[in-house]
Symmetry: none
Subunit: 232 residues, 4 copies
Amino acid sequence: MSAVKSKRVPRAVREQQMLDAAVRTFARRGYRAASMDEIAEVAGVSKPLVYLYLNSKEELFSAVIRRESAALVEAVTAAVEPDAPADRQLWSGLTGFFAHTAEHPDGWAVLHQQARTHGEPFALEVAAMRAEIVRFVTELIGAAAQEAGCVGELADREVAGLAHALVGAAESLAEWANVRTDEDASAEQEQEQEGERGRQRPAAKDTAATLMNFAWAGLGRLMDGERWAPEA
Amino acid sequence: MSAVKSKRVPRAVREQQMLDAAVRTFARRGYRAASMDEIAEVAGVSKPLVYLYLNSKEELFSAVIRRESAALVEAVTAAVEPDAPADRQLWSGLTGFFAHTAEHPDGWAVLHQQARTHGEPFALEVAAMRAEIVRFVTELIGAAAQEAGCVGELADREVAGLAHALVGAAESLAEWANVRTDEDASAEQEQEQEGERGRQRPAAKDTAATLMNFAWAGLGRLMDGERWAPEA
Amino acid sequence: MSAVKSKRVPRAVREQQMLDAAVRTFARRGYRAASMDEIAEVAGVSKPLVYLYLNSKEELFSAVIRRESAALVEAVTAAVEPDAPADRQLWSGLTGFFAHTAEHPDGWAVLHQQARTHGEPFALEVAAMRAEIVRFVTELIGAAAQEAGCVGELADREVAGLAHALVGAAESLAEWANVRTDEDASAEQEQEQEGERGRQRPAAKDTAATLMNFAWAGLGRLMDGERWAPEA
Amino acid sequence: MSAVKSKRVPRAVREQQMLDAAVRTFARRGYRAASMDEIAEVAGVSKPLVYLYLNSKEELFSAVIRRESAALVEAVTAAVEPDAPADRQLWSGLTGFFAHTAEHPDGWAVLHQQARTHGEPFALEVAAMRAEIVRFVTELIGAAAQEAGCVGELADREVAGLAHALVGAAESLAEWANVRTDEDASAEQEQEQEGERGRQRPAAKDTAATLMNFAWAGLGRLMDGERWAPEA
DNA sequence: AATGAATGAGAATTCATTCAT
DNA sequence: AATGAATGAATTCTCATTCAT
């Protein structure tokens, strides 16, 4: 279960091994149920070494969150095509998001499921990252409205709501697309097919397209002033 | 902190008191961090009584999930106007959803944040409920497509994806709308204002409308065959 | 699992039901592991009633020991043929012993295994009963010596030792003969066969004869002055 | 009450200390009544350390049984004079048995009284050891019959019965000889006297001789075909 | 005669964390 | 750089026992 032991490893490397072990363990067990014993064992080191480098369980968790947050933001940011039109930017960002969460399911699980569940200090860190992404999306929606020549049609509050809805939809799709059978970390085939027939794990690009179809089109109508109202 | 003690209460009543205490405690602390001691204290009874009636922490949590799941499904179901057109049905269901989650934030927190984080037995129960809701939404989208005379335009997989996206969006909005400062369970004003200026907690109807604007409009375009594609 | 409930039963009867349940439960679980809850359930009454009649777990156990002790002594005593020669008396007593322990395995288990393991109060009660039986055997050996006209050959201490050895041998054989498969209280055939081929549970009379063959013969030689000594 | 504390002791040593404490505590209190707290205290360590090394109360008890079983079998085996005639072998084995049980009363109490009372896993381990000893005795009786030129006189079943009786007699004598006042672990005089006057604790050799006198003589008659029968 | 409701006290087990080397 | 040895503080769960009816 534990990584191959190799003694006398430089600190920076050891720390990454520990964080890897921690991500994996926190994701699978949850914050409380993950024991420092298990993390140390998975990392292939002794427990005191974990304390020497990461100081405490809280700090370790915090370090995990920071690393995974940064990695996710970085992945999304890197995926965005900066000079493309807003819709294309959004799509490329989403593609980056779906690709990263699919490749790092444990990291995503820690951010999405564990961190939010465990009190202020951690939840806030994740909330901050999420806020950053929401802000980015909000801006894109604003930019799109601008491009479409529709000013003032959409209230700020409404735009924020849409951004939240969009992010939530993306999160939900990420989970859906990742259909974990939870204990089969084996079948990691990523064969990309062009057809639109159902397959085990849709490519990030397709998932992103599905969401764009849903959301962007809606935004379009909205910006055209075609609103839905209960009376209808 | 604890409810007013009243001795010799019939079992059925005590059980509900215990479940109330458990919902509250699980929501605030998380499954692992919530101690049976605290739950008993909040319920105003001794710990052994909790065990006598609910048997174990696991069973207690399970009972909580079942009660809250049932309550949520019941709330949504009751809110739906059965003979209305599909869009109206969806809107009324969403309204019920937002209203219920706003009124029972702890129950929602347990279902949405805690239960999914804690292993097969619990996650499955919540997943089952969520699946039921997704199925309902999927049917509505199908019905809407039918009403709009658009057959076969939308692949099943795509419809399922849209349903997942919609549910995720709703969940995200529910959380956003509920802005918990986590320890201010005091300010429970629900004054309903007609304006569309930002306010502390938007009415469920408005949140539902926001989402409908976003989603339904998108669906409309989609069914008109206006798809979004990366190349665009 | 519990006896058929029948309300309003006279106290004396209820007490016996409780003792029955207690014997069974103590035998199967041991003193500590047997819970008053289980005993009450097996007895088909509520726990407070057990306390009303038997006062405490200790007193209940004590009552069990007294009842089973008395029953065993009574069975052995009743089996002895009073005016027969000493060997015949011993044989008939042993027969009574083996028959009773075979018919009341739970009672025997409580006396032999549980009571001796649990501190002064109980152990003493059983020790007293055992002492009574040892005394009886000691007297028989003495009487046999008398009959055989051998006086003073056997030191008192030696006779006592022999009695202890004989009783121990009997206890060991009782257990051996009772080969409990521990959970097959089903196969309770007691078919008596005349042959000396091995069979499932030898009749008490045969077991007694085996022991007599072993012990009485030894006593005979001993009384003839034929002693065994290490040098031989 | 507890051993002298000495910090930072190698694991193997600590484990033996813990087993010592456990033997003592289980013997005096019984399996259920012995608390891990008390065992840890008697061992002079903290409870977690006991768990770290022995894992659970069950495993600790099991380890105790294995150690004490092995020690007893080893003591008996070592005492037997291999090339002596059968009777001498039996006597020397019994001497070893009585000497060991007298020197390790707690270990014997755990094996004889506690282990048999506590469910399959433990009872089986002890039963296996006892079976081994019974088998050894059975062989000796067989060998003796051979030596005495008496073939086929004794049915296998009967020989087995005799072996069981003999072992039971030995166990009973061991207990009798050890007259524990249960709380006077102080008077540990072992003065060996040659006389045959009664004394506090007879030497193992004498107890063995008493039993040989009883049993071997009986066997002799038995093999001579002088059987005891009820009709006599 | 009988019971549903309730609890104080204690038991096994786990964990984050430190010390001495 | 790294670890074997060790623990204080919880936490889940059980049980004998009582009270009010």
